[in-house]
């Protein structure tokens, strides 16, 4: 098939599809198309069948409502957003958390004694 013939066939099939979807006459278009070289008749039949079969599907009301509730729940939304943050943000948050925990533990263990010990050591150390 030459490239021009192929382009014509593509245009014809596109026009047939658009007309079918718009509810317009398709037979008229087919008679104007060179059916022998483009197989337009056979392909138009497939287009008709696809048009009849490939129709929108409706989600169930329950599913739509449940998913909406999940998505619009503020906590869930926040969890999702946090979960999808870049890995470096997660790493930074974890490191900050560990550092905070260590600081807290050290203060609990040595918090009240540490300054006194340091002072005592300073006093005991000969100049």
């Amino acid at each position: 098939m030459s490239s021009q013939t192929e382009l014509n066939a593509q245009d014809a099939l596109d026009a047939i599809t658009r007309n079918l979807q718009a509810g317009d006459d398709v037979d008229n278009l087919l008679t104007q198309t060179d059916a022998a070289s483009t197989d337009a008749g056979e392909l138009a039949d497939i287009i008709r069948r696809l048009h009849a079969v490939l129709t929108p599907a409706e989600p169930s009301r329950d599913f739509a409502d449940e998913l909406r509730a999940d998505l619009l729940d503020d906590e869930q939304g926040m969890v999702l957003r946090v979960r999808q943050m870049p890995a470096r943000v997660h790493v930074a948050a974890i490191l900050a958390l560990i550092a905070g925990c260590l600081l807290f533990i050290m203060r609990r263990l040595f918090g009240s004694d540490a300054p006194q010990e340091i002072q005592e050591e300073a006093v005991a150390t000969p100049l």
Binding site: E6, A9, Q10, D11, L13, D14, T17, Q21, D39, E42, L43, I46, I47, R49, L50, H51, V53, L54, T55, P56, A57, E58, P59, S60, F63, A64, L67, R68, D70, L71, L72, D73, D74, G77, L80, R81, R83, Q84
Partner: protein, 204 residues
């Protein structure tokens, strides 16, 4: 920080790009986008998966992922739905890769349609043709299936399909032509093999 003061009573008057900007911080704005595109995305996923259970599961994943990433969404002049369809396409592609056995067809709606019909014999034949056609569609490569769904279910113009698929309008037309030819050849093969009958083990 969440901008509570930006919340509105109604989002109907906003276009998609305004909604997306709000949705980065306001879940209710995302809810409006969800309302606008749930049926489209569900239809697309349903036709790709062939059953309600997986369609619901994957549709939920599409919107969850969209919600999670909307903060990073950049308006590059493409319609918002192109972004959503790309997410849906990727999720379905991953799902298909994970499937060890491919389901062939969603029967539930065809059965429902058949029940409304009058002549049982004619219906049985129609149902078989429909089944064969859908099976042939599912044997097509991913991009061709996507093209057919966007063209027939969404009835999108070629330019918009091109935006979603990352192709020019001319390339979409060309792919459509080749897809129809491939479907015709596949259905011819089926028809030829169905016309071969065996009597007492002999092909007639």
């Amino acid at each position: 920080m969440r901008n509570f003061f930006a919340r509105r009573d109604s989002y109907d008057d906003l276009d998609d790009s305004e909604l997306v900007a709000l949705a980065k911080a306001d879940n209710q704005a995302f809810g409006e986008l969800y309302s606008r595109y749930l049926k489209k995305i569900y239809s697309y996923v349903y036709r790709r998966t062939g059953n309600t259970h997986d369609a619901e599961d994957l549709t939920a994943k599409v919107f969850m992922r969209a919600l999670a990433h909307i903060g990073a969404y950049e308006d590059r002049g493409l319609p918002f739905q192109a972004w959503l369809y790309r997410i849906a396409h990727n999720i379905v592609a991953n799902w298909r890769r994970d499937q060890s056995k491919h389901k062939i067809i969603a029967l539930d709606d065809y059965v429902a349609r058949s029940l409304q019909s009058e002549a049982p014999e004619r219906l049985a034949q129609e149902s078989e043709e429909t089944t064969q056609l859908m099976a042939a569609v599912r044997r097509l490569p991913e991009d061709r299936q996507q093209l057919l769904l966007l063209k027939f279910i969404e009835q999108m113009p070629n330019a918009e399909i091109g935006a979603i698929m990352g192709r020019t309008e001319g390339a979409v037309k060309s792919l459509y032509h080749r897809t129809l030819l491939a479907l015709r050849d596949d259905l011819r093969l089926l028809s030829d093999s169905a016309s071969e009958r065996y009597i007492d083990g002999t092909k007639v």
